[in-house]
């Protein structure tokens, strides 16, 4: 559980004095699905490129499987699969040939090709030129390429970008099964929280190059506090009763809004209202969505 698969220490990348990534320290345990979130241009892709050794950090370091990446690049990359931004494919080649170009470099058994094709459900389409594929199929081919060498760590940069809801769902299910079925640790980046909240167990949020949140998704969910809404027969009269329980109560569109109460408090409030002669139509809890919380964190610039 506590085995660190990936760790960055004060990772920084500067372009002409502007820090694209600034002192990012993140960590992934074995079996994690780590959601790496941030608005476009926050530094996600730059960070991921540094994790793969594609660009050199200005300062700080990347450690994978407990070893520094800079000194053990080949050994580490052998155990890592990746998909960076849009998938790379040769349109004039078929899916099988595309995978074969990678297989020849990785020198893994030919059986891997059929295996990854069936994992991403491209079997039956593998002998068609990739230029005729839909975006979702190309994306799945990208994931197949990442899986080809049976990696222990999978790094996916916005794998659901540009996909329709069905495609997003499919990729999400695929990624969710990775740690369970293949023991793979996954790092997945996205600019949409809703996309990864159902698969990630840990979340890191990056804004303007800085990691502003890193913890389990449950902690994030707890931070998303909710409100109580009451619909009653005579809202303005009822408000007077409610203010005894919560000073913050307000009337809004004929509904009373107040901060969340405990179950006991809620029960007492309702019985008091009933005793005072009000009919209580509805008691609703309105959760602030994670998306709202996320937007607050990243400064509402995410569009």
């Amino acid at each position: 559980m506590s085995e660190l698969v990936l760790e960055t220490r004060q990772l920084t990348k500067k372009y002409k004095n502007r820090a694209a990534v600034n002192g990012v320290s993140m960590s992934l345990d074995r079996g994690d699905i780590y959601g790496f979130l941030g608005p476009n241009g926050a530094g996600k892709t730059t960070t991921i490129r540094m994790l793969l050794g594609l660009i050199r950090p200005t300062a700080g370091s990347v450690h994978v499987f407990g070893k520094p990446l800079a000194a053990n690049r080949m050994e580490i990359l052998r155990r890592v699969g990746s998909l960076v931004e849009y998938p790379s494919y040769y349109g004039h080649l078929t899916a099988r040939e595309n995978l074969e170009t990678l297989r020849r470099i990785l020198d893994v058994p030919k059986a891997h090709i059929d295996e990854v094709l069936s994992i991403v459900r491209l079997k039956g389409e593998e002998n068609r030129a990739v230029k005729g594929y839909s975006l979702g199929m190309k994306q799945r081919l990208g994931i197949a390429s990442a899986l080809l060498a049976h990696p222990e760590l999978l790094i996916l940069d916005e794998p659901t970008n540009g996909l329709d809801p069905a495609g997003i769902h499919e990729i999400r299910e695929l990624i969710k099964s990775m740690p369970r079925e293949y023991g793979v640790t996954v790092l997945i980046s996205s600019h949409l929280l809703s996309e990864i909240e159902h698969m990630a167990n840990r979340v890191g949020i990056i804004r303007e190059g800085k990691l502003i949140f890193q913890d389990s998704i449950d902690v994030l969910k707890r931070q998303a506090s909710g409100q109580l809404r009451l619909a009653t027969s005579d809202p303005s009269e009822a408000l007077r009763v409610v203010t005894r329980y919560s000073g913050q109560a307000q009337l809004e569109d004929g509904l009373i809004r107040l901060d969340l109460l405990t179950n006991e408090q809620t029960g007492r409030l309702v019985s008091n209202l009933v005793e005072a002669g009000h009919s209580v139509y509805r008691v609703e809890e309105e959760r602030k969505s994670l998306e709202d919380l996320f937007l607050n964190m990243v400064g509402g610039e995410s569009l």
């Binding site: 960076v84 470099i105 059986a111």
Partner: protein, 261 residues
């Protein structure tokens, strides 16, 4: 279905299931690059070049056969070979630019550099593999030129006993002599995403090549013509190869250090 896949996968995940021999080596990269040539214009281009040169020479002789036959009386073969090399040398310069741009441009277009370089491979091997493939393709062109010229001379009635040594020199020497041009074109094509830059330099090279007979020997676009003050074609070969190695090394250092975006 997925259950079977899962268990297969787990079985294969053991280290024993992996072959470790030539992983990420130059050979693997080279054979991967060969596969990528499938259904591209690279091989047709390598054939079209020498074919075009031989066809143009044939046209030249066909249109004024009697005149040329009288003009070169007694030295038909050497005249044919000299006529051919001036065309083939320009075709070679153009072919180098086109092929280098084809091979590197495709990697840019498909955003494949980042995928390839995130694999366990050395960047120097990635850079070298494509260069070797370029040399192989152009060697094939030279071979076709050699055979094509021989065939043409025979068909024109110069006799099948061609001066093979001379023909071989003029067919094969221009490639190593042009290695500097090739290293330059390849480096430009890889370094700049925009292939217009490499192609502009390539076309400029061809234009300079056209007038190179009157230019000083150190112009790299003159080297594959095999004309120099020393009077030995070998001089051009040695100079071109040495300069080629220097340029290749410089560009590969750039490639190894480059940030991949």
């Amino acid at each position: 279905m997925s259950q079977t896949t899962a268990s297969q996968n787990t079985a294969n995940r053991t280290p024993a299931g992996r072959t470790t021999a030539s992983r990420g080596t130059l050979l693997g990269l080279f054979s991967s690059d060969c596969l990528k040539l499938k259904r591209t214009m690279a091989l047709p281009l390598a054939i079209l070049g020498p074919f075009g040169v031989v066809a143009l020479t044939a046209l030249n002789y066909g249109l004024r056969y009697d005149y040329l036959y009288k003009l070169y009386e007694g030295k038909h073969w050497s005249a044919l070979i000299s006529n051919t090399i001036f065309l083939s040398f320009l075709a070679l310069l153009l072919g180098m630019s086109l092929l280098a741009s084809q091979l590197a441009g495709r990697e840019h277009q498909t955003h494949a550099w980042k995928q390839t370089l995130a694999l366990p491979v050395s960047r120097l091997s990635v850079y070298t593999a494509k260069f070797l493939l370029l040399i192989l393709l152009l060697s094939f062109s030279c071979l076709l030129l050699f055979g094509g010229t021989w065939l043409l001379g025979g068909l024109l009635g110069f006799g099948w006993e061609a001066p093979l040594a001379q023909l071989a020199i003029k067919s094969f020497y221009p490639l190593p002599a042009g290695l500097a041009c090739l290293a330059l074109q390849y480096g430009l094509s890889v370094a700049f995403r925009n292939q217009a830059i490499a192609m502009s330099v390539g076309v400029l090279g061809v234009v300079i090549g056209m007038y190179s007979i009157s230019l000083p020997d150190f112009i790299i676009w003159k080297l594959p013509l095999l004309e120099n003050n020393a009077g030995y074609p070998e001089w051009s070969v040695v100079a071109g190869t040495l300069l080629g190695v220097v340029l290749f090394t410089a560009w590969s250092l750039h490639f190894v250090r480059k940030d991949v975006n």
